[in-house]
C-alpha cells in the first residue's frame, strides 16, 4: 500500500523551491511551476491576463509563433500557462511536458534546452520601454474578453461557476477565475507589468519536476536556468507569512436561497451549494470527504441511485467537494418540468445523511472507492505538488498515505457528525425562458 513520496527538495536562492521526484515509470518529464497570490476582486483580471501575455513571447523569441516553434523543435515540448483558483487563493501555473531524451535519437540536452525556454517564459518576457508591449496586451485583452464571454457556452461548466459565485458572493472564492470584462478596459501595459513584478517579488516560485531524471543534474540545470533571474527584491517575509485560512462561516444565519437564471436551453441544470463546518485544515476533513462520497461521489452514491437509477430524472447527478473552502456542490441535468421533484429528492438525500440513514455498504464502498482514487493519484505526476500547495495554504500537511489511513478510520458516527454541520445554502437552477411562476423565484 505504500505510495511514492520520495520528493527531493532544494532551493535556488531564497525565491525558488525545487521539488524533484525521480521515477522510471514515465516516458515524459513533467514540469510544473507555481506562483501564488491572494485572490482579490481588483486584481483577478490582471492576474488572469499575465500568463496569456507571457505566452506572447520572450526577449529571445519575441513572437508567439517563434516561441512555440522553439518548444516544438524540442520534440514538441508542451508548454502551458494559466491562472488557477484554489479555495480563497490564486496561482499562476506554468506546465511543460518534455519527452525523455533517452527514448529519442540524438536528443542529448533536450531537457536543459526546454528548461532554458521555460525559465524565459516566466522571467524574461519581451518588453517595450520597460513594460509589456501595448499591441500584445491589446490582442490578449480582446481574446480574454471572448474567453470570459465563452464561459456561458458550456452550460454544465457555466452552471457550476455561477453556483460557486452565488454561494460565495462575499468571499474570495466567489471571484471569477478569469476575472471581469468591465476591468479589461482599465488595464494598461504599465499596470499589468507592475502586477507581474509584484507577483514575482512577493511569491516564491515552486518548481516540480517528475520523471526519469537524475537529481544532481536537474539541480544544476535549474540553478543555472533560474538562478540568472533571481529577484533581489524578493520579499522573503511576505512569502513566509503564514496564510490565514478563511474560517468565517455563515452557517447559522444563512437562509437557503434560490437563484433561477433563464437562457434558451433545452435541459435544466439544477445545482446546489452546501456549506459545511469542516475543511482541509480540520481534523474531521476526511469524514467530510467520505460524506461527499456517500452523497454523490460515485455510481453507488445516494444521488446517482435516487435521482438517476430510481427516478430516471437525470443522466448525471453527483456532488463534489471543494476541500480548501469546505463547501460541497451538487450538479444535475434534468427536464425543466421536473425541477420540484428533483429538488425534493436531492434535498431528501442530504436530509437522510443528517439523520444517519447510511448503510454499511454505502460507507464501505465509499471508503474503498476513495482509497482507490488516492492510490491512483500516484499515477499522476503532480499529485504531490497539489498536496504541498494545500499544506502551504492551510498549514495542514497531508500525504496520500495519511489520507488513505485517515479515510480507512472514518466511522459512520464521524460521517453523521459532519452531516450535522452541512447546510443547503443555495439552490441554483438554469432553465429555459418560459414564464416562471412568481413564487418560484422568491427567496425562501
Amino acid at each position: 500500500m505504500s505510495v511514492t513520496s520520495n520528493w527531493m527538495t532544494d532551493r535556488v536562492e531564497n525565491q525558488i523551491h525545487l521539488h524533484i521526484l525521480p521515477t522510471e515509470k514515465y516516458k515524459m518529464v513533467s514540469v510544473l511551476a507555481q506562483l501564488e497570490c491572494s485572490l482579490e476582486r481588483d486584481r483577478a483580471t490582471k492576474i488572469a491576463l499575465i500568463p496569456q501575455v507571457l505566452m506572447r513571447g520572450t526577449e529571445h523569441y519575441p513572437e508567439p509563433t517563434a516561441l512555440i516553434r522553439a518548444f516544438d523543435d524540442l520534440y514538441g515540448a508542451a508548454i502551458g500557462a494559466r491562472v488557477n483558483k484554489h479555495g480563497d487563493r490564486q496561482t499562476v501555473e506554468f506546465t511543460m511536458q518534455v519527452a525523455h531524451e533517452g527514448y529519442l535519437p540524438n536528443a542529448d540536452g533536450l531537457f536543459a534546452s526546454a528548461m532554458n525556454l521555460f525559465a524565459e517564459v516566466i522571467f524574461q518576457p519581451k518588453t517595450q520601454q520597460g513594460v509589456f508591449r501595448s499591441d500584445d496586451l491589446a490582442a490578449e485583452i480582446t481574446l480574454h474578453r471572448q474567453r470570459i464571454e465563452n464561459v456561458v457556452n458550456d452550460k454544465i461548466a457555466y452552471a457550476g461557476e455561477r453556483c460557486a459565485q452565488e454561494l460565495c458572493k462575499d468571499e474570495p472564492f466567489g471571484i471569477s477565475r478569469l476575472g471581469y470584462i468591465e476591468d479589461l478596459a482599465f488595464i494598461t501595459p504599465m499596470s499589468l507589468y507592475e502586477e507581474y513584478q509584484q507577483l514575482l517579488k512577493n511569491s516564491a516560485l515552486h518548481i516540480y519536476i517528475v520523471g526519469a531524471v537524475e537529481v544532481s543534474q536537474i539541480k544544476e540545470i535549474c540553478s543555472h536556468e533560474f538562478g540568472r533571474f533571481i529577484n533581489l527584491d524578493f520579499n522573503l517575509n511576505h512569502s513566509k507569512k503564514a496564510v490565514e485560512t478563511n474560517t468565517a462561516r455563515h452557517l447559522v444565519d444563512q437562509n437557503e436561497r434560490i437563484v433561477i437564471e433563464q437562457m434558451d436551453v433545452g435541459q435544466g441544470k439544477l445545482n446546489f451549494g452546501l456549506r459545511t463546518s469542516s475543511s482541509y485544515d480540520k481534523d474531521d476533513y476526511l469524514a467530510l470527504v467520505v460524506y461527499n462520497g456517500i452523497l454523490g461521489g460515485f455510481p453507488h452514491s445516494k444521488l446517482f441511485i435516487n435521482v438517476r437509477e430510481k427516478s430516471s430524472l437525470a443522466y448525471y447527478a453527483s456532488s463534489r467537494i471543494e476541500g480548501l473552502k469546505g463547501v460541497i456542490f451538487i450538479q444535475s441535468g434534468i427536464q425543466i418540468s421536473n425541477f420540484e421533484r428533483a429538488q425534493t429528492i436531492i434535498k431528501q438525500q442530504v436530509e437522510d445523511m443528517r439523520r444517519g440513514q447510511i448503510t454499511d455498504d454505502e460507507l464501505n464502498f465509499t471508503k474503498k472507492g476513495l482509497v482507490n482514487q488516492y492510490m491512483q493519484s500516484d499515477d499522476q505526476p503532480f499529485t504531490g505538488a497539489v498536496l504541498q500547495m494545500y499544506s502551504r495554504f492551510t498549514g495542514r500537511e497531508r500525504s496520500v498515505a495519511e489520507m488513505i489511513r485517515d479515510v480507512q478510520q472514518v466511522t459512520k458516527e464521524d460521517v453523521v457528525r459532519v452531516a450535522q454541520g452541512v447546510q443547503v445554502e443555495l439552490v441554483y437552477f438554469l432553465r429555459d425562458k418560459e414564464e416562471v411562476p412568481q413564487n418560484a423565484s422568491a427567496h425562501i
Partner: protein
C-alpha cells in the same frame, strides 16, 4: 502467448487469441499503481443494419441502440454492476463510439476479481421490458444535454453535411424518438450478433504478470459456452460520391458562433498500414499549416477570425474518412474562406521543409506522452487495433515519413474536393 517488443519505446505487448476468438492484449507497466482494463466489441453507432446470426435475418435497428445496449449491460438480474465494482473500490465505466463499445475499469487492488466482474457482466445480458423503459428517461436526458452543447451540435452538423444518410452522421445516442422504439428483443438481437468473443478484444495495462492475467482470462472464458460464429454481415448505405450539403446551421444560446468545416477523404486504401501512413502524413501537414507554431494559425487569431482553440483533426477508417478544421469565430464564413485558400495554396506549392521536420519531431515527442497514461494507451491501442492498425508502430511510421508523401497526401485530400461547413450561431 506472443510477445511484441517495441525496442525504442521499451515496451512489450503480450498477445493471445483464445479458442473462442477473444483477442487478449497485456501491457505490463512497472511502477503504475492502477491496472486499467478495456473490454471492447467492434460494434458502434454505425452498425444499424446486419444479419442476426442465429436466424439469418437481416434487420435494421433504431438509431442509438449500441449506446443504449451499453447502458443496459450494467444491469444484471442480481442488481447493479456498479455495486459489484464498488465492493473492491474499482472505478468502472463504458463508452460507445461510431464503431466500438468499450467497458472498462481501473483499480489498485483485487485486479483478478475486477477482471472477472468485467468479463462476466459484459457476457451476461439481462434485459426486461421494465428496465428498458426506465433507461429511456436517463438516456433522454443525456441526449438533451448534448442538444445544448455547441461543440457536439456543430460536430454532428458537419458530419451530416459531409455524409448525409451515411450512419456516421447520426448522433451516437440517437434521438428521443429513435430510442423510444427500442425493445428488449432488439437489444438481444444486437447483443447476440456483436458480443461474440471473436468480435471482441480485452486490453489490460498495469503492473501485472502477463501469464497470470492470461490464465485467469482463459479459465474464465472456458466456463462459458460459445458456438463458433461466422463473420458478421453488416450493411451500410452506399457512401454518396460527394458531400450532402455545403452548409449546415444551428442556433443556441451562446456568446459567439462556432464553426467546423472539412473534406471527406477520397482515397481509402484497403490496407490498414497504408491508412495509418496516410493518417500520420495528414497529421503532419495539419500541424505545419495550422498548429500552434504556424504563422497562419497566429495570423487567423491576430486578424480576429478565431481564438487559440482553433484546431484540426483527421479520421480514417476502412469505411470513411474526413478532416475537420475550426473553432470559435465571429466571422465564420471569412475564416473558412481564408483557411480554404491557404489549403489550396499549400496543396499547390507544398509545405515548408523546416516546418515538416519540426512537426515530425513534435509528433514523435507527443506520441510518447500517450504511453504515460494507462487509460490513454489502452483506449487508443484498442480502437486502432480494431481498425487493423498497431498504434505502437507509430514512431516508425513517423520516422519514415517523407515530405513528398505529406505533400501528396495534402493534394489528395484538398484538390478538387468539396468542402462542407457547419455553424452554430448565437440566437
Amino acid at each position: 502467448m506472443r510477445a511484441l517488443t517495441y525496442k525504442r519505446l521499451n515496451e512489450t505487448v503480450y498477445e493471445e487469441t483464445l479458442d473462442n476468438g477473444l483477442q487478449v492484449f497485456i501491457l505490463p507497466k512497472p511502477g503504475f499503481r492502477q491496472t486499467y482494463a478495456n473490454f471492447t466489441t467492434r460494434y458502434g453507432s454505425i452498425d444499424s443494419e446486419f444479419t442476426v446470426p442465429n436466424r439469418k435475418e437481416r434487420i435494421k435497428v433504431p438509431d442509438g441502440i449500441a449506446h443504449f445496449l451499453e447502458h443496459k449491460m450494467f444491469e444484471e438480474e442480481q442488481g447493479d454492476v456498479f455495486i459489484e465494482f464498488a465492493k473492491t473500490g474499482a472505478s468502472a465505466n463504458a463508452f460507445t463510439t461510431f464503431d466500438t463499445t468499450t467497458y472498462l475499469f481501473s483499480s489498485t487492488t483485487e485486479i483478478e476479481k475486477n477482471l472477472e466482474i468485467l468479463l462476466n457482466f459484459v457476457q451476461n445480458p439481462y434485459f426486461t421490458d421494465e428496465n428498458v423503459e426506465k433507461e429511456k428517461g436517463i438516456i433522454g436526458q443525456e441526449i438533451k444535454m448534448y442538444e445544448d452543447n455547441p461543440n457536439w451540435q456543430v460536430y454532428f452538423g458537419l458530419l451530416q453535411g459531409l455524409y448525409g444518410e451515411f450512419p456516421v452522421a447520426i448522433d451516437i445516442a440517437g434521438t428521443v424518438e429513435s430510442i423510444a422504439k427500442i425493445t428488449k428483443e432488439t437489444l438481444y438481437d444486437c447483443y447476440h450478433t456483436f458480443y461474440h468473443p471473436s468480435n471482441m478484444t480485452l486490453f489490460v495495462v498495469g503492473e501485472v504478470d502477463p501469464d497470470a492475467i492470461l490464465r485467469l482470462v482463459a479459465a474464465n472464458q472456458t466456463t462459458k459456452q460459445y458456438e463458433l460464429q461466422a463473420p458478421i454481415e453488416r450493411f451500410y448505405p452506399p457512401l454518396s460520391h460527394g458531400i450532402q450539403r455545403e452548409l449546415t446551421e444551428y442556433h443556441l444560446d451562446i456568446s459567439q458562433p462556432r464553426v467546423l468545416f472539412g473534406y471527406r477523404e477520397k482515397i481509402i486504401e484497403p490496407s490498414a498500414v497504408d491508412r495509418q501512413k496516410r493518417e500520420a502524413a495528414v497529421e503532419v501537414w495539419m500541424d505545419c499549416l495550422f498548429g500552434r507554431s504556424s504563422k497562419h494559425y497566429q495570423k487567423l487569431i491576430d486578424d480576429g477570425l478565431t481564438d487559440q482553440g482553433f484546431g484540426s483533426e483527421y479520421e480514417l477508417t476502412y469505411l470513411y474518412g474526413h478532416s475537420i478544421f475550426g473553432g470559435n469565430s465571429k466571422q465564420p464564413l471569412e475564416l473558412v474562406r481564408q483557411v480554404k485558400s491557404l489549403l489550396a495554396q499549400f496543396a499547390d506549392q507544398g509545405i515548408d521543409l523546416g516546418d515538416f521536420e519540426r512537426s515530425k519531431k513534435k509528433a514523435i515527442g507527443r506520441f510518447m506522452s500517450l504511453l504515460d497514461s494507462p487509460q490513454g494507451i489502452a483506449n487508443v491501442f484498442t480502437s486502432q487495433k480494431l481498425r487493423g492498425v498497431d498504434v505502437l508502430t507509430s514512431l516508425d511510421i513517423l520516422q519514415d515519413l517523407e515530405i513528398s508523401d505529406v505533400n501528396q497526401v495534402l493534394r489528395d485530400h484538398v484538390v478538387g474536393n468539396e468542402l462542407a461547413m457547419s455553424i452554430v450561431w448565437p440566437e
